[in-house]
């Protein structure tokens, strides 16, 4: 009896230790690819990064040198357009959820739809925008009927809406009710109290939400393949096809030329540095409790 008990106790202790080791191993296995990806990116990307990368457009295939200036400008144009579409609508939706629709059925439906829309594959978003803007020529839709920077911006903008909307709502919910009551008690109209008091109090959090959405769409390739389409030359015209950094990385990565692979790595490094900066900033702002200072 006693030996059986001690055997069982030993078995339990061993399982416990085994699971601990397994969990640590799992953690290491997760961290390993991350380290590998970053290490390789820095090793490959930094060696091919130079001034020409930022100032020149790509050379014809097979020639060495050249850069991705057109893709950087293109990404800037696309992201500016996407932000102009996605951020106001997203923030508006978030304000509705947090200020007007708390607890209503409509708000729950909107919240649910936003979460579901967040999970729709980006390639499907590209197809829908292709079908809406690129393939049909309509008087009501500007720049429609052909590949254009505008259609790419629309696709990215739509993808930003659910993320911005949900983070705005979460941040507004953190603002204490006393702040709203104080604003209304001073006789401010409701719209003014929402915009200048509640939204302003939550603005660091809302900005971080916008940056998260921005970082997410900055790396999107799939919705741009058949909307922005790509362009080997410098372009900032919304009516014409435009290059984007992720799109150019894709085209160069699957090309057979070593010089283009080199540029693809450099482009990926630039992209990842931008995104990591954005994410760290977000983490810094939310972690330091900028919002907590408001209450």
């Amino acid at each position: 009896m006693a030996s059986k008990q001690s055997l069982r106790a030993r078995w339990r202790a061993w399982t416990d230790a085994g699971v601990t080791v397994l969990a640590i191993l799992a953690t290491l296995t997760v961290v390993a690819p991350l380290a590998a990806i970053f290490g390789y990116l820095i090793y490959k990307g930094a060696s091919s990064l130079n001034l020409a990368f930022f100032t020149q457009i790509p050379k014809p295939e097979g020639e060495s040198g050249g850069g991705m200036a057109n893709a950087i400008v293109g990404s800037g144009v696309l992201l500016a357009l996407a932000s102009a579409i996605g951020i106001p609508i997203g923030i508006g939706g978030g304000i509705f959820l947090a200020e007007f629709g708390r607890g209503t059925k409509l708000a729950n439906a909107v919240r649910f739809t936003a979460d579901v829309l967040n999970g729709v594959p980006s390639i499907v978003m590209g197809l829908a925008v292709y079908s809406l803007v690129v393939s049909t020529h309509s008087r009501f839709i500007p720049f429609s009927g052909h590949f254009s920077a505008f259609s790419g911006g629309v696709a990215l903008g739509i993808m930003m809406i659910p993320t911005v909307c949900r983070t705005t709502e979460e941040m507004l919910l953190m603002v204490p009710n006393a702040v709203r009551e104080a604003a209304l008690g001073l006789g401010l109209p409701n719209w003014r109290s929402v915009l200048s008091i509640t939204v302003k109090t939550a603005s660091p959090g809302i900005i971080t939400g916008c940056m998260l959405a921005f970082a997410r769409v900055a790396g999107e390739t799939a919705p741009l393949i058949f909307t922005a389409f790509g362009n080997a030359f410098m372009n900032s015209n919304l009516n014409e096809p435009i290059e984007a950094l992720p799109l150019q990385i894709w085209v160069f990565a699957i090309s057979p030329y070593d010089d283009q692979h080199r540029l693809a790595w450099a482009g990926a490094l630039v992209l990842i540095v931008l995104i990591v900066l954005a994410v760290s900033l977000v983490r810094y702002v939310t972690g330091r409790g900028v919002l907590k200072g408001a209450s």
Binding site: D16, V19, T20, A23, I24, A26, T27, T29, V30, V31, L34, A36, I37, Y40, L41, K44, P88, I89, G90, G92, G93, I95, F96, L97, E99, L106, V110, F112, T113, V116, L117, G119, V120, P121, I123, V124, L127, A128, S131, L132, I161, E181, G187, P189, N190, W191, V194, A218, G219, T221, A222, I225, F226, I249, W250, A253, A264, A268, I272, V276
Partner: protein, 365 residues
């Protein structure tokens, strides 16, 4: 609660405005108290009548919220309209029919040149690569979450959580680039020969593809990409389990693993399943990384080392080169199927995760 209290308060200045003007002009024009109050009151009243502005603002915000419904509706409508051609030509058979090539006597699924289209090889590719990804990512993700919530020293916890967050922020194309130049050669040189020699007898690993691309490469890169989702959601639902549960199990003399199994995992299991389904939704729709490593062939093979293609990646790789309307329409119909499937999968996952994280605080109290 307090929102409803506020609303009448906004109307107060308006009612105030009517009372004093009538009293000032009618009753006591020369009252010193009234004259003294009036600049303050005038200042307050100069804020204006806010009823109209408030209503406009409210409707603007409601419009923004409705636009989210509109977007989902618009996507579904446009995809349906643009895939009419294939729908009329092939009907439901698009998703299961195949065709025997008269010359080679082998099944033919996808032949844009001769105008025959069927989505089965891509559905198969999506299912196989996503299943492989879940097989790899679920144990690792749950293990990571267990380590982070229950075992990790406090100093490490923040930075590890940040690292996994970073993993989620890396764009798909960068994963694809890395997989194409690092992971695929690694699989080709070291992992695949090992798998063939050890597990070749099962028929799942056949040494007939010298490129290293294929379902396995797609599954592995997908696993790396969905890991952060699974682990962060699992962590969230595990942290929502009240501490009293852990303490109760420990008080009965359980070891740490027994405490995790009985006290934490059993309570959080619905949320963990939700996280896994959410990861599945992501894996189904993931495009660029898979496109670069899955091998781009519209075929069905039992071997995991063979080339294939997934629903999302066939759209990415063929759409811009499609010349016939039928080809484009077929690709859009695949996109529509993908849209519907991911909506259903995400809705299920969302409901499960909500059920757990919304219910948990109530239990804690």
């Amino acid at each position: 609660m307090s929102v409803e209290v506020k609303v009448p308060e906004i109307r107060v200045p308006r009612s105030l405005r009517e009372q004093p003007t009538s009293s000032r002009t009618g009753k006591s024009p020369g009252d010193p108290i009234q004259e003294e109050q009036s600049p303050v009151r005038r200042f307050l009243l100069s804020r204006g009548n806010s009823a109209l502005a408030d209503r406009c603002f409210r409707w603007l915000m409601v419009l923004c919220a409705y636009s989210i419904f509109a977007i989902v509706g618009l996507i579904a409508w446009r995809l349906m309209v643009s895939s009419q051609l294939t729908w009329h030509e092939f009907g439901v058979g698009f998703f299961w029919k195949s065709f025997i090539n008269p010359e080679t006597h082998r099944p033919l699924y996808w032949d844009p040149v001769n105008g025959f289209f069927s989505a089965i090889p891509f559905i198969y590719g999506t299912l196989v690569s996503s299943f492989l990804a879940l097989l790899i990512a679920v144990p690792l993700g749950v293990g990571l979450a267990i380590f982070l919530t229950e075992m990790c020293p406090r100093a490490l916890r923040g930075s590890l959580a940040f690292l996994t967050e970073l993993l989620a922020a890396i764009p798909s194309i960068v994963y694809g680039l890395w997989a194409f130049f690092v992971l695929v050669p690694l699989l080709r040189e070291h992992v695949n020969p090992l798998l063939v020699s050890l597990l070749g007898w099962t028929g799942f690993f056949e040494n007939d593809n010298p490129t290293g691309l294929g379902f396995l490469a797609g599954g592995v890169i997908l696993a790396i990409m969905i890991l952060p989702i699974i682990s962060s959601l699992t962590r969230e639902v595990m942290m929502a389990v009240p501490h009293s549960q852990r303490e109760a199990v420990l008080a009965l003399g359980a070891t740490r693993w027994e405490m995790i199994r009985v006290g934490v995992l059993r309570n959080a299991r619905i949320g963990i399943v939700g996280g896994i389904i959410l990861g599945l939704g992501r894996a189904l729709g993931e495009t660029m990384a898979v496109t670069m490593v899955i091998g781009d062939a519209p075929e069905i093979h039992k071997s995991l080392l063979a080339n294939g293609n997934s629903m999302a990646s066939v759209i990415a790789s063929e759409f811009s080169e499609a010349v016939s309307d039928m080809h484009r329409s077929a690709l859009i119909e695949i996109g529509l199927a993908l849209f519907l499937v991911t909506i259903v999968v995400n809705a299920c996952a969302q409901l499960l995760v909500w059920a757990v994280t919304r219910g948990a605080p109530a239990q804690a109290r």
